[in-house]
């Protein structure tokens, strides 16, 4: 069953990541199941990369929690602080009864906050999740050989045995389609596709359960893209990896992912299986996104009509606030009650 607890590898709950006044990620929740590829799409600046980086704790998250393999690995204090502030404000007008109740609540919130922060600290860095970066040139140290780059993670984890490191490095090199001789070379000696393979090797050597691939192919030529996608696909089956695949090329995401989450301005607006998403897109933003995919078909392209999405035109959230609701099994849409009814009807028809 999809909802069984041990099936879920990564659970993100009410994740918020603010940079000053900018709400890069705002209250995003989703699960990633073991062994699946979870695609994330959205326009640049919508917070998909930030979400990925928050998960591997490159940032300290503002609020919310992230559970990996049942354990809380990251938590933010934002929501607790807000609750305490609210309780304190209420305290001024409350009567004696209310005051004791509020006091108890504040104490409880403080306890939970302390717990969250200690969890966050105790989890340290998570080597079970690794990342592949977008730009293969910028993400490799030009002064380190391929061997050093790939072995660095092992060294940092405390591996000292040269023989073990050698063996592992050569194994992953072959795994990603490079050869032993490449180990002594420097990144500039490789083509774009090979550089991205080095990036993959560096993350795979840590034997992670999950990989976050942040636009791994968008900087590559079309012919090389296919090589890298095939490689990721093979690795996924061989090593049983779970992959979070962040990209803006919808054709690639559709090809590669089991489930897809669509983000817009820091919110998750639609989340479902990839077939369902393309067959029944509900949220107007998703629809506009799908209508923009270019196809190699001139006659079709000339009559394609792109749908323009303007949140002011599409939604009226002045009275009823929206939230992420399950429209049909496993198909979540960010909507309010009226829209929810409309979507349900659309699916039923």
């Amino acid at each position: 069953m999809p909802n069984e607890k041990d099936d879920i590898l990564l659970k993100v709950e009410h994740l918020c990541q603010y940079f000053g006044p900018v709400k890069a990620v705002d209250d995003v929740s989703f699960d990633i199941k073991r062994g699946e590829v979870f695609g994330m799409v959205g326009e640049s600046g919508c917070g998909k990369t930030t979400t990925g980086r928050s998960i591997i704790k490159l940032y300290d998250i503002t609020s919310g929690s992230i559970y990996f393999d049942g354990k809380r690995i990251a938590a933010g204090a934002g929501s607790y602080k807000a609750a305490i502030k609210k309780a304190r404000a209420e305290m001024r007008t409350a009567d004696a009864d209310g005051k004791t109740r509020l006091k108890a609540e504040i104490a409880e919130q403080k306890r939970q906050m302390a717990q969250a922060l200690s969890d966050h600290k105790a989890a340290g860095s998570v080597t079970q999740i690794q990342m592949i970066f977008q730009d293969p040139i910028a993400s490799l140290d030009p002064r380190m050989t391929v061997y050093e780059t790939i072995a660095e993670g092992l060294r940092i984890r405390g591996e000292k045995n040269k023989a073990v490191i050698d063996e592992k490095v050569y194994r992953v090199l072959e795994l990603v389609g490079l050869v032993r001789e490449h180990a002594t070379r420097y990144p500039h000696e490789f083509s774009g596709g090979q550089r991205q393979r080095i990036g993959v090797a560096r993350s795979v050597i840590m034997e992670p359960q999950m990989i976050i691939a942040d636009e791994p192919v968008s900087a590559l030529d079309v012919s090389i893209q296919a090589q890298v996608i095939n490689l990721l696909n093979d690795l996924r089956h061989e090593l049983g990896l779970t992959i979070m695949f962040i990209a803006h090329d919808l054709s690639v995401v559709k090809y590669f992912s089991d489930r897809i989450g669509v983000m817009y301005f820091g919110k998750m607006v639609e989340l479902t299986t990839s077939d369902e998403l393309f067959a029944h897109p509900l949220h107007p933003y998703t629809r506009s996104l799908l209508s923009a995919i270019p196809l190699p078909d001139p006659l079709y392209e000339r009559q394609r009509k792109r749908i323009v999405y303007d949140p002011l035109v599409e939604h009226d959230y002045s009275t009823d606030k929206p939230s992420l609701r399950e429209v049909s099994a496993g198909h979540f849409v960010y909507c309010n009650e009226a829209e929810y009814q409309k979507y349900c009807q659309a699916l039923g028809a």
């Binding site: 326009e43 012919s223 090589q227 090809y255 078909d297 079709y300």
Partner: protein, 719 residues
């Protein structure tokens, strides 16, 4: 169709530490007016190098080995940097791939956007004035020569035409300013009304003031009729009174009603036929009175009739006669040039003749050819214009080769002998002998012959066209072009107009709140936004040919779609000619009229967009099509194995043979020629040779094409 740009056997190499890298190897293509040519290929296939050669911005280590790029009567490979200044930005413009490196980091966006407009504005005015005067003078001369009896009246008529043109310009300039203001006011009003409706209006004060300003500037007898003008003025003025109260209360109902009044007046003003100012100006001068009033279409018709009867009919008759005479004169000159050409071809057939006689022949030929260029042609004949320059350059090369080749070879042999001697003694010299760069005399001779043959063919086609010459249409086109020059002459670009134009462009390319962002620096924008600014800058000077070097590679789908739509829209509106460079075939389906697939410095397949997508013939095109997933793909992707070849050591045969699943033995030995498939479609692969085995395209591709046909089948049958 008019050819805007012709690239002929272009060859470009780069000098590098490890040897000469052949980036572009003998490519040719034509660019037609109002069409988009997409150049598709992997990085390193030479597509960017080609486009940079067109713009004259190749890196310092580039060597142009041969070929020509003809544009507007010039060979872009031979003109000086100063001449390029007149073309770049104004006529040829480029959108670069990397927005970060193509924007100036310490200059505000607004300044970067208006820089070219302001700089080019003056130059454009000046060149238009020059063209106008030149054409008027030439036309007058031709007319006088054709009608020697009427020289006096022709001089008077040309003067009159000149004065009418000035009047026309004066009226049109005032109208244009008012019309522009009115259209902007309309757009802004629509936005504001929408925002008021949604209760999301911000900066109301600024925006209302702006509308007021635009509305007041829209006052012009041809835009807003006299009866409407007071109402418009009153509405615009009362729009901003009591502003503070409205903002604090958030109740904009009064303003909304004023806006609707303005909107109603301006909408009716900006719709309908555009006034014909040339005719109206004539009518006004003839009546010595005020401007004619009434329905715009009726005024146009009335004035046109008066103009035709009173002046233009006679003037065009004389102009036609003059033009006819002029054409006859240049046809004779062309025939003289043809004779010279025949003589020269005979003399050069066996080889370049000895010094004195050759230079005499070349001198006579170039003089005759230069004389045959008709200065009254609206579209310059690039081939004839550039012929003399190219011929002289080839001759110079040949002479230099004759002079220096012997010495260079002797020096090389001397060094080689010394090197051998040292080696025989058992020493290992730490120097090598570099091959001398000698001129290939045979090749140069062949180039000269090729040049002459092409001119001969071109002349023959001109002679054939002579029979169907349409003087009436030609005269019309000439007078139109003179009028265009006249409008360009007064089209003054002020800072304020440049700013307004820049803001409009920013809005067009989809930058929200352009007024706020106008004074930002590039680093304050995200990648996608930066790319939009680069596009806006490229479009700012209203170019003739737009080169887009992977403009959307770094952008996501929605923005990509927006930018592509924008380029398509501009192409339609302005008859823009576009070269679109990309590695993603999917992107160009909607854009391209023709597609050239490049690999390792050569065009391997060329054809109309439909032909490339529905009937691809080259294995590399198949591979490109099959290596990207589409929405229906489920099976494993067919990646192209390996990487492109190192072009310092280009392979002997077909460059793609190594990675080609369908490679044959001959592919490794000889380069395939271009096999024509249809009139507009060819591919360079041995698979099309009649003796080659029949090969089917990969299943992934054929299946996809079948799906595509199924999807658009209905419409196809309907067509």
């Amino acid at each position: 169709m008019e050819k805007k740009l012709q690239v002929r056997s272009l060859r470009i190499s780069f000098r590098t530490v490890s040897g000469k890298l052949q980036a572009v190897r003998d490519i040719s293509f034509d660019l037609y007016k109002g069409e988009t040519l997409a150049i598709v290929g992997e990085s390193g296939s030479g597509k960017s190098v080609t486009s940079k050669a067109i713009l004259g911005i190749l890196a310092g280590n580039a060597i142009i080995e041969g070929g020509e790029i003809l544009y507007d009567g010039q060979d872009l490979l031979k003109i000086s940097e100063e001449d390029f200044y007149k073309l770049r930005g104004d006529k040829l413009s480029m959108i670069f791939q990397d927005p970060l490196s193509s924007l100036n980091p310490i200059m505000r966006i607004g300044k970067q956007l208006t820089e070219a407009m302001l700089l080019k504005g003056k130059a454009r005015q000046r060149s238009n004035r020059r063209d106008f005067n030149r054409k008027m003078k030439l036309m007058e001369e031709a007319m006088k020569a054709a009608n020697p009896a009427e020289t006096d009246s022709i001089g008077e008529k040309c003067g009159r035409f000149n004065r009418l043109e000035m009047k026309h310009i004066e009226l049109e300039r005032a109208y244009n300013e008012a019309f522009e203001a009115a259209s902007e006011a309309l757009v802004e009003i629509e936005n504001i009304l929408f925002l008021i409706d949604k209760k999301a209006l911000k900066d109301a004060g600024v925006r209302f003031r702006e509308v007021r300003e635009f509305a007041l500037r829209a006052e012009n007898p041809f835009v807003v009729t006299e009866s409407d003008a007071p109402a418009l003025r009153a509405a615009a003025k009362s729009l901003t009174t009591g502003m503070g109260r409205q903002v604090s209360s958030g109740d904009y109902s009064k303003a909304a009603s004023e806006l609707k009044t303005i909107q109603a007046i301006l909408t009716c003003a900006t719709s309908g036929e555009r006034p014909d100012f040339f005719a109206i100006g004539y009518a006004q001068q003839a009546n010595q009175g005020g401007l004619p009033s009434g329905d715009r279409a009726a005024v146009n018709a009335r004035c046109r009739k008066a103009l035709e009867e009173g002046f233009m009919g006679e003037f065009s008759r004389l102009a036609q006669k003059g033009l006819d005479f002029n054409d006859g004169k240049y046809a004779r000159l062309r025939q003289a040039a043809e004779k010279e050409l025949d003589a020269a071809m005979k003399a050069f057939e066996k080889g370049v003749p000895a010094d004195a006689s050759a230079s005499a022949i070349v001198g006579a030929l170039t003089r005759a050819v230069d004389a045959s260029v008709n200065p009254l042609d609206v579209v310059k004949d690039s081939l004839v214009c550039t012929f003399s320059g190219s011929l002289k350059a080839f001759m110079e090369t040949y002479r230099r080769g004759e002079k220096t080749n012997g010495g260079k070879i002797r020096k090389y042999e001397r060094q080689l002998a010394r090197h051998r001697k040292l080696e025989e003694k058992g020493k290992r010299p730490d120097w090598t002998v570099a091959k001398p760069s000698i001129v290939d005399l045979d090749q140069t001779h062949e180039n000269i012959m090729h040049l002459m043959t092409r001119l001969k063919e071109h002349y023959a086609s001109l002679d054939a066209a002579e029979a169907t010459r349409d003087t009436v249409q030609k005269t019309e086109r000439l007078i139109d072009s003179i009028q265009d020059n006249a409008s360009g002459m007064v089209d003054k670009m002020t800072k304020r107009r440049a700013r307004n134009k820049a803001l409009k462009l920013m809005e067009e390319v989809g930058i929200p709140e352009p007024r706020k962002r106008y004074r930002d620096y590039p680093f304050q924008f995200s990648g996608g936004m930066r790319q939009r600014i680069v596009i806006a800058i490229a479009l700012a000077a209203n170019p003739d040919i737009l080169i887009c070097d992977e403009p959307t590679t770094a952008l996501d789908v929605t923005i990509q779609a927006q930018i592509l739509e924008l380029i398509n829209k501009l192409k339609k509106e302005r008859q823009l000619t576009v070269i679109f460079i990309t590695h993603d075939l999917g992107v160009v389906a909607n854009m391209a009229d023709r597609i050239a697939v490049m690999y390792a410095g050569k065009i391997v397949e060329y054809g109309l967009s439909e032909e490339i997508f529905y009937e691809p013939a080259h294995p590399y095109t198949w591979a490109l099509l099959s290596s990207m997933p589409d929405l229906e793909t489920r099976e494993k992707l067919e990646a192209i194995p390996g990487t492109p070849p190192n072009m310092i050591y280009p392979p002997k045969g077909d460059a793609f043979a190594e990675r080609n699943l369908y490679a044959m033995k001959i592919d490794l030995e000889r380069q395939p020629p271009q096999f024509p498939i249809t009139e507009t479609h060819w591919a360079a692969t041995w698979l099309l040779h009649p003796n080659a085995p029949k090969v089917e395209m990969p299943k992934a591709v054929s299946e996809r094409i079948r799906n595509m046909r199924a999807r658009t089948g209905g419409e196809r049958n309907a067509q």
